[in-house]
Structures are given as C-alpha cells and as structure tokens.
C-alpha cells in the first residue's frame, strides 16, 4: 500500500479522537451518565482544539492542499483514503468542531438514554468531519451516508414534535439526494477514464467534456442541494429541525446542511466547472426564491423551531446564491455564510434548547415575556436573531454582504429579490423576538431560573465566535481566499 503523510496526520487525528470517544462511551456503563458526558466533552473538545490548530497552522501564503494524508484504500477502483485541508474545508472543520463541542455542552442536562445518544452523536460527527476533510469521491459518499443515518435514530428516539414522521422523512429525503449523487459520481469516475476517485486528479481541466459536466453537475447539484435545503427540496428541513433534540438540531442545521452546500462546491463545482457555468442561472434562481420564500413562509410559523428552520432555508439560499455567482466574492461569501450560519443556527437551537427545557413548549404563542425572567438566555437568542437579520458586527453580515453584492452584480433581478428579503427577514425575526421575549411578565414561567454560567457556556462561545468574525472577518476570508482565488482563476 502506498502511503503519503506529510507530517503528523492531524486530520485523521480528528477522526480518530472522535472514534476513540465513541468507543470509550460504548464501554462506559450506561448508568454513569456524568462520566459519559465528560468523556464526550473532552473528546469533542480535543477535536475542536485540533480544528483550531489546523485553522491557524494552515500556511495561507502557500495555499493549496495542506496536511495531506493519502493511503491506498481499494487500489483496484482507485479509491484512496485521501484527506487534505484547504481554504474551503478548514472553516467548515472549525465550524464542525465548534458546533460539536457546544452541542455536547448543550445536552449536559439530558437524562434519557444518554449513552446511546452520545454514541450516535459521535458517529454523526465522524461522518461530518470525514466529509469535510476528504478529497476522495468515494469517501465523500461514504461519509455523507454515515452522517445521515444516525440522524434517524437521534431524531426518532430523542425528538419531540412528530418525531418519527420527521425522522423518516428526513432520512429518506436526504438519501434520495444520495441516490442522485452516487450515479453521478460513478458517471464521472467512469467517464474520466482515469480509474480514480481522487478529486484532485479528476478536477484537472479537460477531464470531462462540457456535455458530461452539464449532465453530472445538475445531478450532483440536486443531490447535494437537497441536503443544503435548496428550494423546493427544503421541506425536510423545518420538519427535521423541529423534531430533533437540540444538539442534533444544532449539528443538523449548523453543520449537516453545510455538508450539502460543501458537496455542491467540492464535488459539483470542482469537477464540473463548465456544468456550473451552464447551470448557474438556475442555481441563482432557486437560491433567490429560497431566500425570500423561506422568510415569508417562516412568518406564519407558530413554533420556535419551525421559525428557525425556515430561516435556515433562507440562509442556505444565500449560500446557494453565492455559489451561483461564479465569482471569488460569491464563493467567499458562500463559504463564510456556511460558517456564520452554522454558528448562528447552533446558537439559535442551543438557546431554544435551554428555553424548551425549562418551559416545555416551543409554541411562540405560549411564550412571551421571557426577557425579564431569563435575560441572559433571552439575549443569546436575540443575538442569534440579530445575526440572522444580518446586523453588522456579527459574522453573518459580511457573508451576506459579499454574496448579495456579487449576486447583484451577476444576476441583478435575483440579487434584488434576495436583498429585498432582508426587510422581511428583519420583520420575521423581530416578530419572533417580540412575541417570545418581550411583553409582560409571564406568570407561568415566573419561577424559572436564568441560565447559569456553566450551562450558558456553549452559547457564550457561539456568541463570542459570531462577534469575533463579525469584527474581524478577514481572519476567515483570508483563509477562504487561498482556495477561492486560485480556483476561479483556474477556471477555463
């Protein structure tokens, strides 16, 4: 077997520490819940630290793929275990680390079948990490499914509203996406004549004819797009968000939907740039419709999580719009939006989680006046809402700015549509904030405690990250540019 490791395999170390955590959890007796939680927190923390290390250790001046790990896996089919980091996946790895870690902390108070929960949660995250770091098409598909399958049990077992329906719907819906991906991937690999699944090898210009690219691109786009919540294939997302337990919602909306967008970028766009150029108009249209549609449909929702679900649809539309612009700015914005939206949604669900755990309701109509009772918990939600509205000072603003500018430049009408959605997104979010947190003191909840420091920690981290990248977006954008500029310049 041929191996190639440039130094210590940090990327694999992330996967391995997840795996180690998973195994360790399996070996802890189920009664020792606290131990399980600590193990989860420690191992997720390790992955976060590794992700942070990678993020800063990446040599931006050199760019390109770094921390490459290559290992022949199935040589007969040209399948390699090939991990690498570049400007596109490092933000996502960091995001995964953040959401993973904070997700564990968010579930600190859970009591029910803790062991299984964290085991599945780790499995889920292994898939997510794996997908973000791999550069091999086969493994992309494998990780895609690995990250989907635990979702079923996580939602169906620990979920809330219509959980079984939602779990089934989500799983089948997303696997339907994979039903488009696998044929398309195979199609590309076979037609390349290279007998390899290596993305780097396959993305060389001229590997595929334009018509092949067009054909494969649309399949890949739709396949991954389903996971990215592309309109009109988004309906799994609100339903799934609502039903899932909080940490799962966090990972789900925060990271899993990014997998879809990342897949579009890494597979569809990387391999079929001409297909991309051909279908960009359609992508932009769907994205723009999704942006405004998500916001408007969300206006009428009465469940806190539904609201967030629809806002996710809208925000993922922004990612899609960015990806459709064929410009550096668009790509930058899209990747930044992936990151920012991930953190923001995680914050949303994390704070809703706290509120739900206390009040046992997510119905907006039953809440109200919470700001007086739990000001800190409320303010976390409000920060998320502000981020969602694209308020400057928070990371989302920059992402939306970049995407909207480049979209407006390339597709004026669709861009305008997306910009107009900003008004409604403000209306949408402020209305929720008002109905949930403002208004007179709610007697029902008067005895509830505000969030303590320890429990508030995950939310604090998320807020801090939103603010950090809101005030200092270059930190992230410089990273993304190392990938996006060479990529756009390399386009035929």
């Amino acid at each position: 077997m041929q191996m190639e490791f440039a130094g210590f395999p940090y990327l694999s170390a992330i996967l391995l520490s997840c795996l180690a955590g998973l195994l360790l959890i399996l070996f802890i007796p189920r009664e020792k819940q606290l131990q399980i939680k600590w193990v989860s927190a420690i191992f997720s923390g390790i992955t976060l630290l590794l992700a942070i290390y990678l993020f800063f250790a990446y040599d931006k001046s050199r760019g390109g793929l770094q921390f490459v790990e290559k290992l022949e896996w199935i040589p007969y089919l040209g399948i390699q275990y090939f991990n690498a980091a570049d400007g596109f996946n490092l933000p996502n790895l960091l995001l995964t680390g953040i959401v993973f870690f904070t997700g564990v902390l968010t579930m600190w108070e859970m009591r029910e079948r803790v062991k299984e929960f964290f085991a599945l949660y780790f499995l889920l995250v292994i898939g997510v990490y794996g997908l973000f770091m791999t550069m091999d098409l086969f493994f992309i598909f494998v990780w895609y499914d690995v990250s989907l399958i635990p979702m079923y049990l996580l939602i169906a077992l620990w979920g809330t509203t219509r959980k079984e329906y939602a779990a089934m719907k989500l799983t089948l819906y997303l696997l339907a996406g994979s039903a488009l991906i696998l044929p398309a991937v195979l199609y590309l690999v076979v037609n390349s004549g290279l007998n390899t699944f290596d993305i780097v090898a396959l993305m060389r210009p001229g590997t595929f004819t334009p018509s092949q690219q067009k054909f494969a691109f649309i399949l890949l786009y739709l396949g991954f797009g389903i996971l990215a919540g592309v309109w009109p294939f988004h309906t799994w997302s609100p339903v799934g968000h609502v039903a899932a337990p909080h940490a799962v919602s966090m990972v789900h909306a925060g990271v899993l939907m990014k997998i879809g967008a990342f897949g579009v970028l890494r597979v569809a766009i990387f391999l079929c740039p001409q297909g991309w150029q051909h279908w960009a108009e359609l992508m932009a249209l769907l994205a723009a419709v999704g942006i405004i549609y998500g916001v408007l449909a969300g206006l009428r929702q009465t469940d806190l999580k539904y609201v967030i679900g629809y806002s996710s649809v809208s925000h993922m539309g922004i990612v899609g719009l960015g990806l459709s612009t064929l410009t550096v700015d668009g790509l930058n914005g899209a990747v930044l939006q992936m990151f920012a939206h991930g953190v923001m949604t995680a914050l949303f669900f994390s704070s809703v989680g706290y509120i739900y755990d206390r009040t046992h309701t997510k119905a907006i109509a039953e809440l109200g006046g919470l700001s007086r009772i739990m000001p800190v918990a409320s303010s976390y939600f409000i920060v998320a809402a502000l981020a969602s509205m694209g308020v400057p000072g928070l990371a989302n603003f920059w992402a939306e700015l970049l995407v909207l500018i480049s979209a407006f430049r390339v597709y004026p009408v669709r861009g305008l549509l997306a910009i107009i959605a900003l008004v409604f997104s403000a209306l949408f979010m402020l209305r929720v904030v008002q109905q949930t947190f403002y208004g007179p003191n709610n007697e029902k909840y008067a005895t509830l405690q505000d969030v303590t420091f320890g429990l508030g920690m995950p939310r604090m981290i998320l807020v801090a990250i939103l603010v950090l990248f809101g005030l200092y977006p270059s930190l992230m954008l410089d990273m993304i540019e190392t990938a996006s500029i060479p990529f756009i310049n390399g386009l035929p």
Partner: protein, 473 residues
C-alpha cells in the same frame, strides 16, 4: 490420489450426509447430541472447503470444474451451512422427529449446491439444481406449523417444477439448435448465433431455472410464501446459501455466454429493475418480518443481476462480493429472527418492540444488518452495491444505476421501520428477555463486526472476488 482430493469438500459432505442418514435410522432423536454432531460436521466442512480453496482441475469427462471461483463459492456455502446449523439450537419450528432429517437435508442440499457451482455441463447443472431444490421443498414442508409448512412447500414445489420444466425445455432448445451441452462450448458457438431465436430464447429459458433459485421476477413468486411458511432456520438457509449458489451458477453461465447478445442484456435489465422495484415496494407494507426479508431478497436479486448483466470483470467480481455480503447480512438478520422468535413461530415486526432492552446485542446486529441490507456505508452491503453499480456504470447503464439507487431509498423505509421497532417501540406487556447463549452472542457480535469491517476494509475481499472471477473466464 490427487483426483479425489480435488473434490474433497463434496466427498466430505457426501460422507457427512450418509453419517446423518445412518443416524436418522438409528435410535430415537436426541436434539442436543444431533445438534453438536451437525455443528461439528459442518465446522469441519468449512475447514475442508477452506483447505481446498486453491485446488484446480477438471473432472468427470470435462463436466466438472474445480477452480478458484467454484472453491470460493464452496467456502461460502460451507460457511452458510455452518452458520445456519449454528442457529439450530432450538429447533422449535421443526417437528422433533424430523430434526435429524433436517440436518441431513441441509447437508445434502449444500452438497448439491457445491456440485452446482462446479458443474460446467448443462446436465450436471440441471440435476444438481434439482437435487438442491428437492431438498429444500422437503425442508420447507417440515415445518411444525403444518398448514403453513405444507402450503409453502406445495407452492415452492409447484413453481419450482414449473420453472425447472421451463429450464429443461430451454436446454432442449439450446441443444437442438447448437448441440451444445457443455457450457464452455457456448462461448465458441454463440457469437455466430445471436440472431438465432431458438438459441437465445433457449438460453433465456435455461436461465429461468437459476432465476427461480435467485428469486428474480417473474420466478420470485414463491419467495414470500416460502419464507413465511418455512421454519426460521430453513428460511435462513434458503436466504443465504441457496442464493449464493444461484448467483454462482448464473455468473458462470453468463460469463461464458459473454456479452454476445444485446437482447439478453436487455432482458436482464428489465428483470433486474422489476425485481428490485416490486421487491422493495411490496416490502413497504409487510408486517411479517420473514416475509419482509423475502421481498428484500427479491430486491437483492435485482441488484445482483445488475452486476451480472454488466458482463465485465468488475460486474462479476462485484456479484461475487455481493453474494458474500448477502450471505453475511441475511444471515445476521435471520440470526436475530431465530433468536427473538424463540418459539419457532413467525415474527411480526411489532414483536421486535423493546429489543434494545431485551437484548442490546441482537438489536445492534439487527440494525447493522438492516443498514447493510439497505446498502448504507460503511457496511458490507454498501460495498457490494457500490461495486455492482460501478460496474454497470462502466457499461454506461446510467439509468439502471439511478433506478437502483432510488430503490435503495425506498428500501431504506422498511428497514428503518424494522429498526424503529427494535429501538423505538415499547412493548405493550413486558415480554421476557431474549435468552441468548454466549456462543450465539459472540457469533452475533462477530457478524456485526464482519459487516462493518467488511464495509470499511473491503480491499482483500474484493481482491479475492476478482481472483475468483479471473478463474472463471
């Protein structure tokens, strides 16, 4: 004498069968002792098959071929038998008096299938196929719940003889048109005769016998009833070993006809699509777990056909791998069925309720096998599907792969229902814990590991399958 060494697995199984036959005729049945006899016999069989895996030779006036392909399948069959015997600890589904006959018939059937995978002469193939079928007809009918067993037996039998008559007529047509009875001659004469309807239709009819074994549409109609009607262990055997043998012989035949006939490919494409579609659709509403697995078998037959009809190395090796994966994952599923239905009755899905507490190991095995059957990575079932689909794509069958993938999605629905029952449903009244012996527990863990490890590190298995296929050509 080298000559006899070549067929040592067959000889061994023949001897074992006679031993059991003698045992049948002597003294009253002692289930425990019989079980261990059968278990040790089958375990030795596995060892012998493994030992003879590298043998090569042509025997019996060119009608019998020992090559890596056949030997690999023999190992699979032997392990299939061994595994099925393993779960015969509580033969509550079989009348006690006939338990030794059960072992006897299983051994004979395995022997017949071993001969089937080595046969290269149509007559041999036909007769071995009949032998294995007849053993199964009787096995099915041995069910303790007689009405069920009998009905299933009759249906199996009638459809079986109908299919075998079709096959025989096909052989007759083929022979009449080409004088070919030795399938290795087919490859020489066939290219000139692809337009001859008698040859091609004869070939199609010949294949129908194997389609029957594999439960491919339209010869699948026995499967649901037989799976439901037969006792759990017998069903397990039908679902594992018998399928493996059918895949093997189908592969051998198709590999030799080459991709001469576009028509045959088309027919197989159609049959494959219909098989997997109706299999998966019918399973959606099924409540009886065994019947559900029968439908899933039909669907899997469709997937395997994709590999076979690709008619290239990749497809054949994919099919071999698929056979192996089917053996493992179907067996794992039946292991759970047999253990949970301790009374030998059929198992309805809702009876799985609360399994995760009653027996976490079994629940896990069930879950992994369900995902594996559905083709979700990183399980062995996924790798099998992947190989097969990749092979089909090499031939440009994009639509076929797409349809197959859509089928995978549909199938996941009912597999998830099974998992849901095991993990989510709470039983209405608390059923007793599932008793499971440590040996079986470790077997079940081993199966789970095999499914996962085989999915993560499939390299060596794939290489093995490829080597086997190289021997085939």
């Amino acid at each position: 004498m080298m000559h006899w060494m070549l067929i040592s697995p067959e000889l061994y199984y023949l001897t074992a069968a006679f031993w059991l036959l003698v045992a049948c005729m002597t003294g009253p049945p002692k289930p425990k002792r019989d079980y261990f006899t059968a278990l040790s016999l089958s375990a030795v069989g596995v060892i012998i098959s493994l030992a003879s895996v590298t043998l090569q030779g042509i025997l019996f006036s060119q009608t019998y071929r020992i090559d890596l392909f056949a030997q690999v399948f023999k190992v699979m069959l032997a392990s299939g038998l061994f595994l099925v015997v393993c779960i015969c600890t509580e033969l509550n589904g079989i009348r006690e008096r006939y338990q030794r006959e059960l072992y006897l018939l299983l051994f004979v059937c395995t022997l017949a299938m071993m001969m089937l995978v080595s046969s290269v002469h149509l007559l041999n193939i036909y007769i071995s196929l009949e032998l294995s079928s007849y053993s199964l007809y009787i096995l099915v009918a041995l069910r303790k719940q007689r009405d069920m067993g009998l009905e299933a037996g009759i249906k199996y039998f009638l459809i079986g003889i109908f299919a075998s008559a079709l096959m025989l007529f096909g052989i007759a047509m083929l022979y009449g048109a080409t004088r070919v009875s030795h399938i290795e001659d087919l490859i020489q004469v066939l290219p000139g005769l692809v337009d001859n309807p008698a040859v091609i239709i004869g070939l199609l009819l010949t294949l129908s016998g194997f389609f029957f074994k594999l439960a491919v549409f339209p010869f699948h109609l026995w499967a649901p009833d037989v799976y439901q009607g037969a006792s759990n262990q017998v069903t397990a055997y039908i679902a594992t070993a018998s399928k493996v043998a059918a895949i093997a012989i189908l592969l051998r035949l198709i590999a030799l006809t080459g991709d001469g006939s576009v028509y045959l490919v088309h027919v197989m494409v159609v049959l494959s699509i219909i098989s997997m579609t109706i299999g998966n659709l019918a399973a959606l509403v099924e409540q009886d777990l065994k019947r559900l697995l029968a439908y899933s078998t039909i669907a899997h037959a469709g997937y395997v056909l994709i590999g076979i009809l690709s008619m290239n190395d990749a497809g054949y090796s994919g099919a071999v791998f698929y056979a192996l994966s089917l053996l493992v994952m179907k067996f794992a599923a039946f292991l759970v069925v047999v253990q949970v239905a301790g009374d030998g009755r059929n198992l309805r899905i809702e009876q799985l309720a609360g399994l995760h507490r009653r027996s976490p190991v079994l629940a896990l095995t069930l879950m992994i096998s369900a995902f594996s059957l559905a083709g979700i990575p990183p399980t062995i079932g996924f790798t099998g599907k992947f190989l097969v689909f990749a092979a089909a794509m090499q031939r440009g069958y994009f639509t076929l792969v797409l349809i197959a993938m859509i089928n995978v999605v549909i199938s996941l629905y009912y597999y998830l229902l099974v998992i849901r029952a095991a993990y989510l449903l709470e039983p209405r009244e608390e059923p007793a814990d599932v008793r499971i012996s440590p040996a079986l527990k470790s077997l079940s863990i081993a199966m789970t590991c095999l499914m996962v490890v085989g999915g993560i590190f499939p390299h060596y298995l794939i290489e093995l399958a490829r080597a086997a296929v190289r021997g085939l050509m």
